[in-house]
Every structure is written in C-alpha cells, then in structure tokens.
C-alpha cells in the first residue's frame, strides 16, 4: 500500500528560477491555471449575449452572484459596500470552489491543499482589509487595537492580545481551508488503499464508503469556499464599520 500523503507531493514540471527564488511550474500552478480558464470561460460564455430573459448559462451566473450578494455581502458589509466588493469576493469564491472541486477529479491535483496557496489568498484578503481600513479611517484605524471601554491601566495587556488576535485571522483563514482539503483527500486515499489491499471479498465495503465520502467532499468543497468568502466579507465589514 502506498503512502496516503503521496498525492500531495509537488514535482517541478518546468524548473524556473528567478533571482534565486524557485518559481518552477508545478502541478498546483497548472491546476490553478485550469481553474482560472474554466471560471473565466464559463462566465465569458454566460455574459457573451446578455438578454433580459436570461438563457441557461446567464441564469446560472446571475443566480450565483445574487446568492453571494444577498447572503454574504449585504448582510455583513451593508448594501453599498457589498456591491463594491462583489467582483473581488465573487472571484475569490469561484476560484476556491473550483480549486476544491477539480481536486476531486481522479488524477487532478488539489491546489488548495497547499498551505502556500491558501496562505497567499488569506494574506491577500488581509492586505485588502488593511488598505481599506487605512483609506477609510486614516490613522484612526489603529483603534482596532483598542477595544472601547477598556481602562487605561489594562491597555498594556489588551493591546498585545488584540494584535495577536488580529494576526490570527488570516492565519486561521489559511489553516482552515488547507486543513479541510488535506484531511478529506487523505481519508479518501487511505480508503482507496483499503480497497486494493482487501481484494474483492471485502474490498467492496470501503468502496461503498468512498462513494459516500466523495459526495461529502463535494459538499465540503462548497462549504469551505463559502466560509472563506463569508469570513473575508465579515472582516471587510468590520474594517469598514469600525467598532460599530
């Protein structure tokens, strides 16, 4: 039986090195390109001939974005801001969702099982939060580190805690997506190993399990993309309405 973590390994397909930094093209990069192509192609097709009575594809695209806007953006950020951030958060959601989903195709690589990928996304979200905060509130944005109604002598204790709890946000964002994808695919790999080892007589039992797990993984792929986008919207909303 092979190592169940083997399929997370990356191999340099086209080795490239720029100023001593390894930026080789590997499986994760190729998968992300494919995802971008699919999402872009789908929405390009959907918006090619926009009609008042939408066709099938246009209907689907409108449904996704409307769902995002009503349930994630407007509820957490307010109507006006939700509209402003729909393009960014919509892209984020679709990218993560398709990365998760295509990873379930046998032989494909799950780009979101690399902590570098999820970490980059989380840091991107957090930098946008910081830029929006400083653009909107100026230096008053440093008030995020000072919760309202704290006595002065407690500040030396509270401020470091607040700084760490702020930094923990992108960290937990990256960790959650990465951990969920890695765990799910490891379970699938272990079960597949059982099927091969146990031969036909009892091997069908883990195989039935795999079918159930696969359905569950599709659900997880959706939920994790949803959670990532939801949390990004919540953080952005908190930054826009400081201590409101």
């Amino acid at each position: 039986m092979g190592n169940p973590l083997e399929h997370f390994e990356l191999h340099r397909l086209i080795p490239i090195s720029l100023f001593g930094i390894d930026i080789s093209i590997n499986e994760a990069v190729v998968m992300m390109w494919i995802v971008v192509l699919i999402v872009f192609g789908l929405f390009w097709l959907a918006s090619r001939r926009i009609q008042i009575i939408p066709g099938r594809l246009q209907n689907m695209a409108e449904y996704w974005l409307e769902l995002l806007q009503t349930y994630i953006l407007e509820g957490n950020m307010g109507k006006e801001e939700g509209r402003t951030f729909l393009p960014f958060l919509g892209c984020l959601f679709l990218f993560i969702f398709f990365c998760n989903l295509l990873g379930l195709v046998p032989g494909a690589y799950t780009a979101t099982s690399q902590v570098m990928v999820t970490g980059t996304l989380a840091v991107l979200v957090y930098f946008i939060c910081l830029s929006v905060g400083f653009a909107k509130h100026g230096l008053g944005f440093f008030k995020v580190f000072v919760p309202p109604g704290v006595p002065l002598w407690l500040l030396p204790f509270v401020v470091p805690i607040e700084i760490v709890s702020q930094l923990a946000r992108p960290f937990s964002l990256a960790l959650r997506l990465f951990a969920n994808m890695t765990a799910g695919h490891t379970v699938l790999a272990v079960l597949f190993g059982f099927v091969i080892v146990l031969k036909f007589y009892i091997g069908w039992l883990p195989f039935v399990f795999i079918l159930g797990m696969d359905a569950f993984e599709i659900f997880i792929a959706l939920i994790q993309a949803y959670i990532f986008t939801l949390l990004a919207a919540i953080y952005l909303g908190e930054v826009i309405h400081l201590h409101a």
């Binding site: 349930y71 607040e162 709890s165 923990a168 960290f171 959650r176 949803y226």
Partner: protein, 74 residues
C-alpha cells in the same frame, strides 16, 4: 431561502469557524514567540509568553464573534 433555513446555514458557519479559530490563535502565538526567541536569543521565555497571549487571543476572537451574534439575534 426562508428564515429558518438561512439561520441553519449561519449556524453551520459558526461550528466550522469556532474550532479552527481556537487552535489558530494558540498556534500563531507559539510560532511568533518561537521566531522572536530565535531572533533575540531569549529562549524559551518569549515562546511561553506567546503561548499565553495566543490562547487568550484565540478565546477573545471566539468570544467577540459569539457576542456579536448574540447581539444581532436580540
């Protein structure tokens, strides 16, 4: 989606969020402490401080989040 169903989706979000937030705070505090220790050569004291700070920060994040939720419901 109607009211109760929407609420169900939000509750699912809470369940998924709370567990990782707790671990992430502790992990981050430990990591920051460890890196500072290595940079400043004060092993192991900053890591000890970092573990405590990170744990408190993780709880604080969850506490604030659940508090907001409670306020929103009422």
């Amino acid at each position: 989606m109607e009211g109760p169903q929407k609420e169900g989706y939000r509750d699912l979000g809470i369940v998924i969020r709370v567990g990782i937030d707790l671990v992430a705070g502790t992990l981050l505090g430990t990591l920051l402490g460890y890196l500072l220790d290595r940079a400043l050569g004060t092993k192991p004291w900053l890591m000890v401080v970092g573990i405590f700070l990170g744990t408190i920060a993780g709880f604080r994040n969850i506490f604030r989040y659940l508090n907001d939720l409670e306020n929103k419901r009422n």
